[in-house]
Symmetry: C2
Subunit: 384 residues, 2 copies
């Protein structure tokens, strides 16, 4: 580990400048230092912050500063008399120069950027074996890392019994219970309240776009499959959205700004949400997709926008349907697949229910639990 | 119910114009009509859409149109030979003129707009009685409507036993299980992994901003309260954000575009999320808040932005702390309060745990379940 040494400091009106032995200089605004003072009175030993930022004097400044052995800067604050002790490591780790922020981002990064994919990913890549991930943390880490990176992974040789899908979700997180129950059973029924429970083809979609919040992980486990068709299709919606944005920026603009309605109704439920098909974060990056042609409602937008909006919707939908973006595979009993439900669309081809039985059991969970588990596993495996 | 009568129609290149007896004219793009054809082959009787929009010919047009008894328009489509039957009511209900969209929005609206509030709301307003909402759907509707409208409601005389808070959540939805369990117990413990489990004051905050997705409803039920302090504080964050936006548009811009880090760590979990404090929807309206001074991490933003960002953060935080925006009350055993966790902040004053015991039991749930229940209740009570 690098050992940082402080050469000297100078105290300005609003900030402290720290000069380092390696030639770097850091500027710390006093308000930032006081706010983040690491003393036990300010940060609880559980890591939570006690300092009430709102109550700090915005113009807070030091009454006294002292550099001890090139290694620690002690400050007594004028306004509240509080004493802070900042170690060299803490200071360097909190330097907000562009260069140091970037260095830290690289150094502390537990996760590589996600990888967008198309049909060339194939089904071979993001797979693992049930017994291995149960017995071995390294295998579990690899599998969960697939989910994070590709938004999609397959697990083989899962015990074939009802409820096994819950056990898999509990390896990393918590079940998101919904009106479909803790698990739902994808098989053909006589009076389906959802087209999932038919033998119809299901074009690639994200699940439950009518929900708020949408479940962020979807798991499906094959218990029985005696039919020829019913193949599973997965598509990286972020990949498609990225291409769509490049090729059709104006259509992308429409799908990311004009909300549509998604709805699910049966005799006991009326779940509905108005939201854009493409969700952007504050930096205008794609962060969530809601696409489900079965749950979408007639567009309720002014007529003059209809032709262009259809162009946008159909163009995007046709890209999602393009085999060049799809991975297609047949779920065998004991196989399970998991998708990031705000990124990956999944669908199935139609089948003939006269050929036999097809039974998938599915459940929902959330990303935060999976990422927490993955951080803990990675941390355990990292050299300290 | 109004009875609409069609006088005549004219078929253009891309759209059908329908002239109504009341003088109104509707324009329907052919692609819209074909896409939303209500036949059982296109819309399943469960309400889900079978038509694959992606597969429709964008230039689809009628081969034959027929008006029957001023009440129905039948179309045979040129490209796929499909026959559609559009009743006058369906057509009028799908007219996309500005005027008709607005009329429909008013007519079909189950929900009034939400109401923003400040301290003048008082604790008296959004309250109900446990026994009444259990026995009577009208009372339940009123209480759930409080939650939707104010983002906050109190329930009195809830049975005082562990787990009762789950029973309340199950009246309208599903428990969002987290690393804290299906319920968490807010009482003072020796080694708290969260400051909630101390006797410290908690400044108003939304819960679990480090989660993705954040639980959208929070419920807390008082089982025991023998201390003087520990008063509950609630603040309408949307109200404060609205005032903040008007008074400090540039600071508002910062909090809605520059993401910050929220984190929770203990020996088994490392939950972290980077997100803006103020979340905006595609129309730039405030749709979610994440504010929690205990879970926030040192800002990792370039130094030159620090003074202004502190100004934004402190200004917003001080507004949230302003009693003019707060409702404060003492939770008595048997009382429960619920908040929309993306809108309402809650906090508590400090207390002296030597005075006695204070035990709240909390849980999380999601908005979609509550809104679904509310729609079903309202529909049942509406004259048809």
């Amino acid at each position: 580990m690098e050992k940082y040494s402080i050469v000297n400091y100078s105290a300005g009106k609003n900030w402290l400048t720290v000069a380092w032995k390696d030639g770097h200089a850091s500027i710390f605004y006093y308000i930032y230092l006081r706010d983040n003072c690491p003393s036990p009175r300010n940060i609880h030993k559980n890591g939570q912050k006690i300092t009430e930022t709102a109550q700090l004097d915005t113009d807070i400044r030091p009454a006294h500063i002292e550099l001890v052995q090139n290694d620690t800067i002690n400050i007594i604050w004028e306004q509240d008399g509080h004493q802070s002790e900042f170690g060299a490591k803490w200071l360097r780790d909190h330097c907000l120069s562009k260069q140091e922020i970037e260095k830290r981002e690289m150094k502390n990064r537990l996760f590589e950027p996600i990888e967008l994919w198309d049909s060339t990913l194939g089904i071979g890549a993001p797979q693992a074996d049930y017994q291995q991930i149960i017995e071995d943390d390294t295998s579990l880490t690899v599998w969960l890392e697939y989910v994070r990176r590709y938004g999609f992974a397959v697990l083989n040789n899962v015990p074939i019994h009802s409820g096994a899908v819950i056990e898999i979700a509990r390896l990393f997180g918590y079940i998101r219970e919904t009106n479909y129950g803790r698990v739902y059973n994808e098989k053909t029924v006589l009076h389906p309240n959802n087209l999932t429970y038919t033998s119809l083809a299901l074009s690639p979609s994200t699940d439950n776009p009518y929900r708020d919040p949408v479940p962020t992980l979807h798991l499906a486990h094959c218990l029985q499959n005696q039919v020829q068709g019913g193949d599973t299709i997965v598509v990286d919606g972020f990949k498609v959205a990225t291409m769509f944005r490049i090729e059709y920026p104006y259509l992308f603009e429409l799908l990311s700004t004009v909300p549509v309605n998604f709805r699910f109704r049966d005799k006991d439920h009326w779940i509905e949400r108005k939201a854009t098909i493409i969700g952007l974060d504050a930096q205008k990056e794609v962060c969530s997709l809601r696409f489900n042609n079965r749950a979408i409602q007639p567009f309720e937008i002014e007529n003059q926008l209809i032709p262009l909006f259809y162009k946008a919707y159909q163009t995007f939908a046709r890209m999602l349907d393009d085999p060049a973006f799809q991975v297609k595979f047949k779920m065998l009993p004991g196989q399970l697949f998991i998708t990031d439900n705000e990124r990956i669309l999944h669908g199935r081809t139609s089948f003939d229910s006269k050929e036999g039985k097809r039974h998938l059991q599915g459940t929902y969970a959330d990303r935060d639990g999976l990422l927490s588990k993955l951080r803990m596993l990675k941390k355990k495996q990292m050299p300290d």
